[in-house]
């Protein structure tokens, strides 16, 4: 089922929908762009298992896509996890959150986050967003907090491959 949020703020409408099996190429393309942009060389690159990852994510129905004029411009890959020390508590964490550079001034990121919050509200679960690709961090910090996410710490890396 197509779930859409229409943005009337821009001239071009941005639609948020869940990815389907037909979107695997789009998902892979955006994952590759996200990896390319990451500041850490060790985050890896697209490899044969990335296709399996994309297909499994789509199957879990927790991949949100932002679409503008039939082009996929943003992605939010979510995953349902259990709290390690309490198997009865579940939460939804982001794995990849990315909007194409040329569309960062649009409201695609905001709409993706709104849909994420709606999923959390509907499910009653907590959400965790981990920004760990090491780019544009100050802007992302401000952005997340403006849209109702509470900053509880940071991620750090050490060493190289």
């Amino acid at each position: 089922m197509r779930e859409a949020i229409l943005s009337t703020a821009n001239k071009s409408e941005v639609i948020i929908r869940r990815a389907t099996e037909w979107d695997i190429t789009n998902v892979l393309t955006l994952v590759a762009l996200w990896i390319e942009e990451a500041a850490h060389s060790f985050i890896g690159n697209v490899c044969p298992s990335t296709g399996v990852y994309a297909a499994e994510c789509i199957r879990s129905k927790l991949v949100l896509l932002a679409e503008c004029e039939k082009e996929i411009i943003g992605i939010l890959i979510l995953k349902e996890n259990i709290q390690p020390w309490d198997e009865n508590v579940r939460f939804i964490v982001d794995e990849i959150f990315f909007v194409r550079k040329e569309y960062r001034a649009s409201n695609a990121a905001r709409l993706l986050l709104s849909k994420y919050k709606q999923i959390l509200d509907d499910s009653g679960m907590s959400g965790i967003l981990i920004m760990d690709n090491g780019t544009d961090m100050a802007r992302k910090d401000k952005f997340m907090q403006r849209y109702g996410f509470k900053r509880v710490g940071c991620s750090y890396s050490y060493g190289e491959i």
Binding site: Y53, L129, K140, D141, G153, S155, Y156, G159
Partner: protein, 147 residues
């Protein structure tokens, strides 16, 4: 203070569980508390991963749990992911955390693997930022919660 680091074993589960409980009480985020399953998870974690404890006079003051894994989108690149780093409140500012971090860096260098470490407590973020930067860690981005 004479600090000794060693790998954790099954006999340490209760003390690590106590540390986890203290950490959960301190955090600004509403995490679920320690439950009977927590011991199963900890025992399993100690057995299958790399968990260090730091002690003074046979009392465990802190612990760090490192899990080797690959990235979801790439199973060819490995790294160590820190699942927990907890220091007993009473023994902070005694170089306890620094010693544990040194051990993690050693593990990273010996295995030629990067380390990812996430802070999710919501308290003393600036202090932790400074500390990890001083230890040679690079800031990779913020962590956020909703609800």
């Amino acid at each position: 203070m004479d600090l000794q680091i060693r790998k954790a074993n099954g006999f340490d589960v209760n003390r690590i569980s106590e540390l986890l409980k203290g950490w959960l009480e301190e955090t600004a985020f509403n995490y679920p508390g320690v439950c009977p399953y927590s011991h199963v998870w900890l025992a399993n974690f100690i057995y299958t991963n790399t968990c260090f404890v730091i002690e003074n006079d046979e009392k465990i003051l802190g612990t760090i749990g490192m899990r080797y894994g690959t990235f979801p989108w790439n199973n060819e690149v490995g790294a160590f992911f820190c699942d927990f780093l907890i220091i007993d409140k009473v023994f902070r500012a005694n170089g306890v955390a620094a010693r544990l971090i040194e051990e993690v860096k050693k593990l990273s260098n010996e295995n030629d693997m990067p380390v990812f470490l996430g802070i999710m407590t919501g308290i003393q973020a600036d202090k932790k930022d400074r500390f990890l930067s001083m230890c040679g860690f690079e800031y990779a981005g913020g962590n956020f919660v909703y609800r």
